[in-house]
Amino acid sequence: MTRRSDEGDQLELERSGGFAGLTLRALVPFEELSQPQRAAVDDSLSSPPRRRPQPDRFQYQLRVGERRVVLEEDDFPAVLRPLLRRLSVPR
């Protein structure tokens, strides 16, 4: 884990695409992430998988501070799936 989990840090999670093309977002304070979840975020940010866009699949973006990664639906870490419940349509 190369990044310190400072209290002010948060994970910005975005899901876009899908047939509907809706963009949903969630802000998750870093302190609410489990250790395996923090590790998964860090892994994704450090070594982004190759992009391979497919029609109507979801696309995820993880952002922590200035660091950002875009993931295909199949590359989204399973350990982060519980966070998807927090996604909502921005108003």
């Binding site: 975005e14 695409g17 047939f19 497919q54």
Partner: protein, 358 residues
């Protein structure tokens, strides 16, 4: 006898019927053999071999004109290896609304492509139409995975399911047709064209099924699948992009083109521009949209005269050339296409006129 012979009939008996039975029995036996073969093969082989299986099936299937549909129950999993067959071609409706809707929607989609464009399924070779319903848990999406169509049930909040709207089914199947023809890259403008073509033919599937003219059609995509958290009538409107629901941000003109990193460069947003161009062309040509603008778009697609990384302008010019080839230089159809792309800011008026005049 119509439809499939019951699958408990042993294959050797089916083969005997296929060789010596009456024409109707023969067709039915071939269908059943093809489906049995399909189910066995598709479960165990990888994606490449599935293509071969589809071609073998097409040979058994004959000259086209009838779909070969298989609907599976994904049983709320996303790993579809365990999927169970729910309904195959020739079988009566089953006790599952999503399965029957997917079956019927695939049939309507096949019908548009065959009756209007003489295309025999996704690959024009009788490829079986495979649909998986109940994909994932509360899954708010439908997509084409390169071989099959997947339909989630929706979470009940944003979406109430994806099989209730036949334009959604037509949209997904058309991603397969695009993959088989132009292979448009799913990012930026070529991605928005890929999306738009799916909306165009998705809407045409609905119009064809309802036997509507361009004037009678609602030009909506996803009507009837929105849950209570989304206020509106549908997800997209080709007639009036940006008005389908309260979060609809689709532009109808290049001046509103959205640059974003999300959604592969806003492919579901900027598709509003070519969507609206199609609507304008269809409305100007009048009558049944599949016979005029639809024919022009389909021939452009199947001609292969558009590169996988095509931008809006290249696609617009290709449709204009197709319109001239099909209906003549300076024909009302060619003028309608030229004016439609000009109205959405993709072609400049003078250039469009020059192109129309050769």
């Amino acid at each position: 006898m119509s439809g499939c012979l019951c699958s408990i009939v042993p294959p050797n008996v089916l083969e005997q019927v296929a060789r010596t039975g009456s024409p109707a029995d023969r067709e039915s036996a071939l269908n059943t053999l093809a489906i049995d073969h399909s189910l066995r093969t598709l479960r165990i082989e990888n994606g490449t071999l599935r293509g071969l299986a589809a071609r073998r099936l097409a040979l058994a299937h004959g000259g086209g004109g009838a779909p070969l549909r298989v609907i599976y129950d994904a049983q709320h999993r996303t790993d579809t290896h365990a999927s169970r067959v729910m309904r195959t071609e020739g079988e009566a409706p089953v006790g599952d609304t999503a399965a029957n809707e997917a079956f019927d929607g695939l049939g309507h989609t096949y019908r548009l492509y065959w009756d209007a464009f003489q295309r025999d399924s996704i690959d024009d070779g009788g490829m079986p139409l495979l649909g998986e319903v109940h994909f994932g848990v509360d899954y708010d999406n439908a997509f084409w995975d390169g071989a099959r169509m997947m339909f989630g049930d929706g979470d009940g909040r944003l979406f109430t399911g994806f099989t209730a709207a036949i334009d959604v089914i037509g949209h997904e199947l058309t991603h397969g047709v695009t993959q088989d023809t132009l292979g448009l890259r799913y990012i930026g403008q070529s991605g928005a064209l890929n999306e738009s073509i799916s909306d165009v033919f998705g809407s045409l599937v609905k119009q064809f099924a309802l036997n509507q003219t361009a004037e009678q059609a609602d030009w909506l995509i996803g009507e009837g699948i929105l849950g209570p958290a989304l206020q509106g009538v549908a997800l997209r409107s080709m007639k009036a992009p940006g008005t389908a629901f309260e979060g609809d941000v689709q532009p109808a003109h290049m001046s509103g083109y959205v640059r974003t990193a999300s959604d592969n460069g806003g492919v579901h947003i900027n598709s509003g521009i070519p969507n609206h161009a199609f609507y304008l062309a269809a409305a100007a040509i009048g009558g049944q949209a599949w016979a005029g603008a639809g024919r022009i778009w389909y021939d452009t697609m199947s001609s292969g005269a558009v590169r996988p990384d095509a931008q809006f302008h290249a696609f617009a010019m290709a449709t204009l050339h197709t319109a001239e080839r099909l209906f003549g230089l300076g024909s009302s159809q060619a003028v309608a296409v030229s004016e439609a792309w000009t109205a959405v800011g993709v072609l400049k008026g003078v250039r469009a006129l020059d192109a129309a005049l050769g």
